[in-house]
């Protein structure tokens, strides 16, 4: 992973969002959002329901088109150079994106083929070891627990050696052990030079693995700061009371 990240190094930000706006049926969801995430950094994107977090992530992933503005992954525009951008992008969400009828190994093999990986077998082994899924490789995804399923989703997202990882509510439904494993995988990804943009309602967990925090409110980025510039405990408390007042 180290070698690949080194090959992937880029002088500009790994993820660059410029003036992105999006409106759904006359309701503005994002209003001119700017965000740049360099390699080796994880950003925790907070916001109450409807603030525009998932919409922003879907636009960055190329699953949704912005009305205005651009998003680039590793310098590749997600609209104009979609295939190149998607080769550098991994996505984890609360939906696992795996087929219940296929085994763990088959799901990874399918994802590897979609990404045209030349070293499929060795890379799948590497990811099975990283996510501690090797004992389950012949098990169908349908019988996996939520925690194992999320580990499979992570393995799927990291399979093609992305430089940017988008994680939409990755801790949803995970127990403490599974959460710790996921945090360790994220930590290793960042140490290896990857960039993470993560949304979560659990700000304490988010701040544990991110050195930077951004807050979206009604489609506007109202805070973008390094965690050492804020008091994490106070931020969590303030954010919680703000979220309660909005719900």
């Amino acid at each position: 992973m180290h070698e690949t990240m080194a090959e992937n190094r880029l002088t500009g930000p790994a993820l660059n969002v410029c003036s992105v706006s999006k409106t759904f049926v006359a309701r503005p969801v994002l209003r001119g959002v700017d965000l740049a995430v360099p390699g080796g950094q994880a950003v925790c994107l907070c916001g109450v329901n409807g603030a525009g977090k998932s919409t922003l992530l879907r636009i960055v992933a190329g699953l949704l088109h912005a009305d205005r503005g651009t998003a680039a992954i590793h310098g590749f525009d997600i609209r104009k150079q979609a295939e190149a951008a998607k080769r550098k992008l991994g996505v984890v969400s609360h939906a696992s994106m795996v087929y219940p009828e296929l085994t763990v190994g088959e799901n990874l093999n399918f994802a590897a083929r979609l990404h045209g990986l030349a070293d499929r077998t060795s890379r799948i082994e590497e990811l099975l070891t990283l996510t501690e899924l090797a004992p389950y490789r012949h098990d169908r995804a349908a019988i996996l627990s939520r925690g194992l399923l999320q580990r499979l989703a992570i393995a799927r997202a990291l399979l093609h050696r992305p430089v940017v990882l988008l994680a939409d509510e990755p801790f949803t439904g995970l127990d403490t052990g599974a959460t710790e494993r996921l945090l360790a995988i994220f930590d290793r990804f960042v140490r290896d030079g990857g960039a993470i943009l993560m949304t979560t309602h659990d700000t304490r967990l988010g701040l544990r693995c991110c050195r930077r925090v951004a807050v979206l409110d009604k489609g506007v980025l109202v805070l973008d700061a390094m965690t050492d510039e804020i008091e994490p405990d106070r931020f969590c408390t303030d954010y919680l009371s703000y979220a309660r007042s909005m719900s």
């Binding site: 699953l63 949704l64 088109h65 998607k86 969400s93 696992s96 795996v98 219940p100 979609l114 045209g116």
Partner: protein, 239 residues
């Protein structure tokens, strides 16, 4: 180009493996197809003329192909909705058109398996004979299959992946397929001996003219709609 073939092959194999394990679509298709054949067979028994059997046989087969095909195609994208798998496909570095073509190939394979089972049942039930014209029968079935699958795959994506679920899209598919069903029915009627090779006069079947022309119409329909649906697919799945 290598990525195109790799991606296409991966999606087709995955779809077939998933169906073989889930056994969700094919059994339902076969039951529906056999029901249609048997009901129309019973209806044709009440016909006073023996000439009704080939006509009813051709009608039964096309109705079975059409409705069972649409059922399979609707499921092909519904399965991708499970666990957000469609996002996994769209996040792959593939042209969206590749996803359409892969789904089309998988649907053609499914409908071909269905035809392999239901056509012999239809031929026996209606006591139909094609003589030595099996290659022509295969060509008509394959061209019809491709026509139904090309339009059905696109509209299945539109219904499942966009917010148009529950609309009248299925009816639109049937209307679009009408120009294909006329020469397809004509071709089967000729093969079953219910119509001469060439016909004149007026009416929708007479408009087709001859068996060769019917094959030409089917080929043209398939070419136009495969290309059109392939080009439209990225637009349809947008948001």
């Amino acid at each position: 180009m290598k990525d195109f073939w790799l991606g296409l092959r991966a999606i087709v194999i995955k779809d077939i493996v998933v169906e073989l394990r889930a056994k969700q679509v094919l059994p339902t298709m076969i039951v529906l197809g056999m029901l249609i054949v048997f009901i129309l067979r019973m209806a044709s028994e009440s016909s006073s003329t023996s000439a009704g059997a080939p006509v009813m046989g051709a009608a039964a087969l096309w109705i079975a192909f059409l409705f069972s095909g649409l059922l399979a195609q609707e499921r092909s994208f519904a399965a991708e909705q499970q666990n957000g798998c469609i996002d996994g496909l769209l996040l792959a570095p593939l042209d969206p058109g590749t996803i359409y073509l892969a789904k089309l190939v998988a649907n053609v394979v499914m409908l071909s398996i269905f035809e392999l089972i239901v056509v012999p049942i239809g031929l026996i039930s209606f006591d139909l004979h094609v003589g030595g014209r099996w290659p022509q029968l295969l060509a008509v079935l394959l061209l019809g299959n491709l026509g139904i699958s090309s339009v059905g795959t696109l509209f299945s994506a539109a219904v499942q992946l966009t917010r148009t679920r529950g609309s009248l899209l299925s009816i639109v598919v049937l209307v679009i397929l009408m120009p294909m069903l006329i020469p397809a029915s004509f071709a089967l009627l000729v093969l079953f001996g219910a119509m001469p090779e060439q016909v004149g006069g007026t009416g929708s079947l007479a408009f087709v003219g001859s068996f060769r022309a019917a094959l030409g119409y089917l080929l043209a329909f398939d070419a136009v709609f495969v290309v059109a649906c392939w080009l439209l697919f990225p637009v349809v799945i947008q948001e």
